[in-house]
Amino acid sequence: MFAVLIDQFWSLTIAGIALGFIYVLVSLGYTMVYGVLRMINFANSEIFMWGTFGTIVTSRDIFGYTQTSAPATGPKLALVLLSQLLISMAVAGVTAIFVEYVAYRRLRAKGTNRLATLISAIGISIVLSELMRLLTDSRPVGSPRVLEKIILGEVWGANLRLDTIITIFAAALIYFLLERFVKLSRMGKAIRAVSMNEDAAKLMGVNLNRVITTTFLVGGLATGAAGFFYITVFEYTKFNIGFTMGMAAFTAAVLGGIGNIRGAFYGGLFLGLLEVYASAVLGTQWKAVTVFIVLVLVLLFKPNGLFGEAVQTTRA
């Protein structure tokens, strides 16, 4: 049972870290919005799904790659990858702002109960995923292979594949930039102020609506970047792909302590590794169950998550 795990420990670890970084970026979309609004950004999974389509549309329709065309090389490769990344981020960012405007803003102005907002967010995520289902005829969409999956080298018997390495380093860089943004910029300071105390922040002259829109935008950008990395590694998407990803990323956010950016980082990596190891030991069909059981255990014995603030007592 554990033979697979011991045999392929390092290649599993590398795959787990890459998956973990994708989780980190998606869970930023949950954790940042939660930090500011104290509400689950339910539509984040669909924002991710739209991001993955942004990547595919860029390579397929803008650069004209097909399933059979040769992978790009040299400067062309860098150009295509970079524009894929930026367009996915833009698509997801715009979708996130749209979600905030349509599903959250009006209800927030009315100061209504949290459940109404949750249902309205559920509504908008149904709209987003159904729209994509109609656009794609419910079919899965494969991505043309832009990046050839060269094996760069071998470490302790594990292959270092180019796409995994790019995912790990680029995702880490994007995470780092976002973390610096929230930590150092004036807007980031405002975001943190609102998440600490909304009323006090308002009294100090923070423009609440702008902060919230920016939070959705930043979360959306991170989620869109995750969409790009997901396509680069797995090369496939579908209108309902957001669900599994959203569940895992939300679990990662809670695991690290929701509302906490650093928590999303550790939670995402931990969950990515856990998922990969668990599927090696128990078989892939049980990995979601393992993840949930660990989540329940963490919540029971360390209810604020590994790095979280005390939101345990907030009310539904």
Partner: protein, 345 residues
């Protein structure tokens, strides 16, 4: 006191009800029950649903949605706990029926209490460790529980995995009433009876100690605890009762559908039921009934736009929540109307 704005049907209706004597109330209830019971005969009218037969739609989704929403309303509406894994109890009931119905000689009515018992045990087992959590954390744990039940069923051999279980027996006759596939009005009457029973149970409990404890927990759990309400006990009770209703609905669903598979018990069902509760007016029984009826009926009625119907469904959710955030029939306004009346009396 006279309520002037007659266009406000809700307050107007509430006013009539509050001022009526016992015989009038009994008459109103009986007439409404008969009218609703006659619904399966109106299949040819404008109410009819294209493609699916009308009496089948009345049983599932409409009737089942109402039943499950009432069950979930005990958890979410009465005691204010956000449960996103309600489908788990529905699945437990349905699989109890499917496995016992195909392997033993028990009939639906004998399996019903067993299914309810299993769902309640699951409710207690889940409730004891998790109900210490609150708000969104509880939501995510229950959501996880719902997924775990589905995945266990999907990956186990005793449940025949993704193939599902077929040839589940129909319920035996009740006197002259026969259960048929083509004509599901008897199923509808059974669902209706179960709904009435649930409503009766909720109304009885609401005015007694558990109901008051739930209300206190929903408004302020810490204050309730300080006032000596054993909050964990009543939360588990509320969870278990909700589970019982879900389990009963599951047993009947399996027996009606004759076939069940894990893909029928996804998170979407939980979300849809929660949407019914919030859409109609959280905490208010009649609001929940109306919300579940609309959301169960609407997708089938608008099947003519077949492919886009879920899109429209999502849009309706967003729009209604934006303009009526407390649901179609909110609890608060109704309470306010009663308070006003008492103040003026």
């Amino acid at each position: 006191m006279k309520i002037r704005n007659y266009w406000n049907l809700r307050d107007y209706g509430a006013n009539i009800w509050e001022n009526a004597g016992r015989p009038v109330r009994v008459a109103i209830v009986l007439v409404s029950i008969v009218l609703v019971g006659l619904l399966p005969f109106t299949g040819g009218s404008f109410l009819a649903t294209p493609i699916a037969s009308f009496d089948a739609v009345l049983v599932y989704p409409v009737g089942m949605f109402v039943l499950m929403s009432l069950g979930l309303n005990i958890v979410v509406g009465k005691s204010g706990m956000l449960d996103l894994g309600y489908v788990a109890f529905f699945a437990i009931g349905a699989y109890t029926m499917a496995i016992l119905g195909t392997t033993t000689k028990l009939n639906t009515w004998e399996i019903m209490p067993i299914g309810i018992a299993f769902a309640m045990i699951a409710g207690v087992l889940l409730g004891i460790p998790t109900l210490r959590l609150r708000g969104d954390y509880l939501a995510i744990v229950t959501l996880g529980f719902g997924e775990i039940v589905r995945l266990v069923v999907l990956n186990s051999t005793w449940s025949k995995g993704p193939n599902g279980i077929a040839n589940i027996p129909m319920p035996p006759h009740i006197g002259p009433l026969k259960f048929e596939l083509e004509n599901q009005r008897v199923f509808f009457w059974v669902v209706m009876a179960m709904i009435l029973l649930t409503i009766w149970m909720i109304r009885r409990l609401s005015v007694r100690r558990p109901g008051r404890a739930w209300e206190a927990i929903r408004q302020d759990e810490d204050a309730a605890e300080l006032m000596g309400v054993p909050t964990l006990k009543y939360k588990i009770w509320s969870f278990t009762l909700g589970a019982a209703v879900g389990g009963a609905a599951g047993v009947l669903y399996a027996s009606k559908n004759l076939y069940i598979a894990p893909e029928m018990f996804t998170l979407n069902v939980s979300i849809l039921i929660l949407a019914c509760v919030v859409f109609g007016g959280i905490g208010n029984i009649w609001g929940v009934v109306i919300g579940a009826t609309v959301l169960g009926y609407l997708p089938d009625r608008i099947r003519f736009i077949s492919d886009a119907r879920l899109l429209v469904f999502g849009l309706v959710l967003v729009i209604v929540m934006n303009f009526r955030p407390d649901g179609l029939l909110p609890r608060k306004k109704r309470e306010k109307a009663i308070v006003k009346r008492e103040a003026n009396a």
